[in-house]
Symmetry: C2
Subunit: 418 residues, 2 copies
């Protein structure tokens, strides 16, 4: 297969399809999503068979168990994929919404209309459910999508792609609206991220290495986050019961997710009251603790944290802890070492809370809430295609709205520039 | 001068200053803008002297008169710069605004807060007024800015920079909040567009060549438009008097601007009624007409348009004209040859109007209005730093809001992920 010409054709077809999807009505898009969900449920056995092939090859290659875990489908996870598509169908259609239409002194009315981005390229690893999730969100937001899953999941992804395709065609939508790349040749990724004429935005999902490589080489805007070095800051004015509850949950509710707290900051006056309590809980749950000198003096069995710890996303039962002077010191630490993902303050003080919200430059900032709540579903976006920590376009969890933009609409009645 | 280390220092200083500007209050920012305006007015004579040096050198180099025109300052244009800064001071502060804060079923409140982008790099040619305009908009939106003007305007830009600096320091803001590059070495641009750690977005303003080069080489997101190949489509259901008025204004109100109409599309049934009328006006104003066969048969003295005409931004008294079958054909033409800048339909038909608004994928789409109205002031943005025809982030005229983004804010009260 000539990968270059294959990808060029995929890109051209996606561009053509995007024009039709952009003007498709809500009913048609929802119908396609519903049919896709039905096909996934009906084909559960075939999907499991295809997935078993991927798993067998992955085991033969000696892939580690966490990877096998992400690759695995079950009847339950297939039902969840189908349910996810139905949930996206139930969301309001963002496309065509006009906001802020108002009269200007000249007499024209100016507003903005929400429109699709165009063609979205998504590059992801292992988890086959991304194929259905991304297809659903892109379609509902009026975009065409080119999906490039990991080679280890090729059979699972192609089986899901067949269900997606069935839904598209039965609803009368162009099949190139969602294309799942059929080749495992890595050159396809290089082509995808340099087809500026055919692709409007790239969303990479996977390990930091993959995302860094794609960001460095892409000639197309990338929506991404690299790291989730999330902080909870327990302020001197914190309620201790809330602080313990939130800092416990932020670390231990799940270890491997990007919104898990990796560094705990505690103000120095409250530290003697809250740290021993919290550290008992962490130790009981088997969390390894690494603290600065002040933290160690309060909880002696803590290991010594080094500079590397403050910038590390452990994705594991390890927590770094630092005692800080107060709000300014905490913000300075987060600014210096954080990854602009999600940071939370625990405080009862209104002024402190709002200074933290304004001055911490992260995609999600929270008061008295666990960083684990940074999530498209929790925020009411319906679903998320990823999280962005970049400055421009979308920040935080990216749902339907993040897959759209706003153009200006002007309504006149013989209006000209004087 | 070692340009690399100079630019690195500029970048570091800008990043530090951006953190202070981001949290500056509205009063302080407005005070700085007012002081800058006062300094510009007071120093009018010095500014004119500096500008005379630039003009003298430009004439000695044999720069063409359009370029000299753009380079020239006058007492009037300096007063307009000062007035522009005062207008920006009078605009509402976008920073810190919280939108959509609402309760989720879990009990958390989720909303979004408008925040600065960070550090903005602006690269522009000739017009010295961009120095003051860009400084004002960036500052008000809470950003630090690095401004790189053309070497031909170096003395004018440095004189304006002195006024900007005076305003910043007198208001107690860091002087690195707005830095005007002091070297004319072209290597400074190469450094600016690759300092990912210090610069968050690049805005190039100038000729297409400059913008293409910067887009190709930048490692930082670019907000830009390349071309303004704008269309007016006169639908069969147009009011002829409105069509003539709008198509005349869109072409002849000013020839050299990016929102000037370059191609007129006319539906075939109305063409015999409207084209002869319109072409008489164009000829009286000295506009050269280039039409397809059908247009030529209605207005015989028209030149023959070739394929190149449909994609050309003339920026001159030249107009290409095509007779189309109707709405679908017009949209197809705009999609194929347009530049996604500004396109307008003249029609009395509601259904046709809204199909055009939805299906034409341009940054501004209009009904019964001249494309010349695509402008930050006309839209009520207060001012504009440029126009974007890209898909992500801002589209259309970019004002204060386009220099910001939205982060998520979450207000809880002991809320955790279950």
């Amino acid at each position: 297969m000539d990968v270059r010409s294959y990808m060029q054709r995929v890109g051209q077809d996606a561009r053509s399809a995007s024009r039709l999807i952009a003007k498709s009505d809500t009913r048609t898009k929802n119908h396609a999503l519903t049919l896709m969900a039905q096909a996934l449920r009906r084909d559960t056995d075939q999907l499991l068979t295809a997935n078993a092939r991927d798993l067998e090859q992955a085991r033969a290659k000696g892939l580690e168990s966490a990877m096998l875990d992400r690759l695995s489908l079950s009847a339950k996870s297939i039902a969840a994929m189908a349910e996810g598509l139905l949930q996206v169908a139930a969301l309001p259609d963002p496309i065509g919404e006009v906001i802020g239409l108002h009269y200007r002194p000249s007499g024209i009315r100016v507003g903005r209309m929400r429109v699709p981005l165009g063609v979205i390229g998504i590059i992801y690893e292992s988890r086959p459910n991304v194929t259905a999730d991304a297809a659903g969100l892109c379609l509902k937001a009026g975009n065409a999508a080119i999906l490039r899953g990991g080679s280890e999941a090729i059979h699972s992804n192609q089986a899901i792609a067949a269900c997606v395709l069935e839904g598209l065609t039965a609803a009368g939508l162009p099949k190139a609206a969602i294309q799942v790349i059929e080749t495992t040749d890595r050159a396809a990724v290089g082509e995808l991220i340099t087809m500026q004429d055919y692709v409007d935005v790239i969303i990479p999902r996977g390990g930091k290495g993959l995302i860094e490589r794609i960001s460095a080489e892409s000639r197309i805007p990338v929506i991404k986050h690299l790291d989730g070095v999330c902080h909870v800051f327990i302020d001197d004015d914190a309620d201790i019961e809330k602080a313990v509850r939130i800092a416990d949950n932020a670390k231990t509710q799940r270890y491997g997710t990007c919104n898990t707290m990796e560094t705990l900051l505690v103000a120095k006056n409250i530290a003697p009251k809250v740290l021993p309590l919290l550290c008992r809980i962490y130790r009981e749950k088997g969390v390894e603790l690494r603290g600065d000198g002040a933290a160690q003096s309060l909880v002696p069995e803590m290991l010594k944290a080094n500079a590397e710890d403050w910038v590390t996303e452990y994705l594991a039962p390890i927590l770094s802890i630092r005692v800080v002077d107060g709000l300014d010191h905490a913000i300075e630490h987060i600014t210096t070492y954080g990854s602009q993902h999600t940071d939370s303050i625990v405080t009862e003080n209104q002024t402190t809370a709002w200074r933290f919200l304004r001055e911490v430059d992260s995609s999600s900032v929270m008061v008295n809430a666990s960083t684990r709540l940074a999530d498209g579903f929790e925020y009411g976006l319906g679903a998320e295609i990823g999280i962005s920590t970049d400055e421009i376009h979308a920040r935080g969890p990216v749902g339907l709205e993040g897959l759209t933009s706003l153009k200006f609409v002007v309504l006149g009645d013989r209006h000209v520039r004087e």
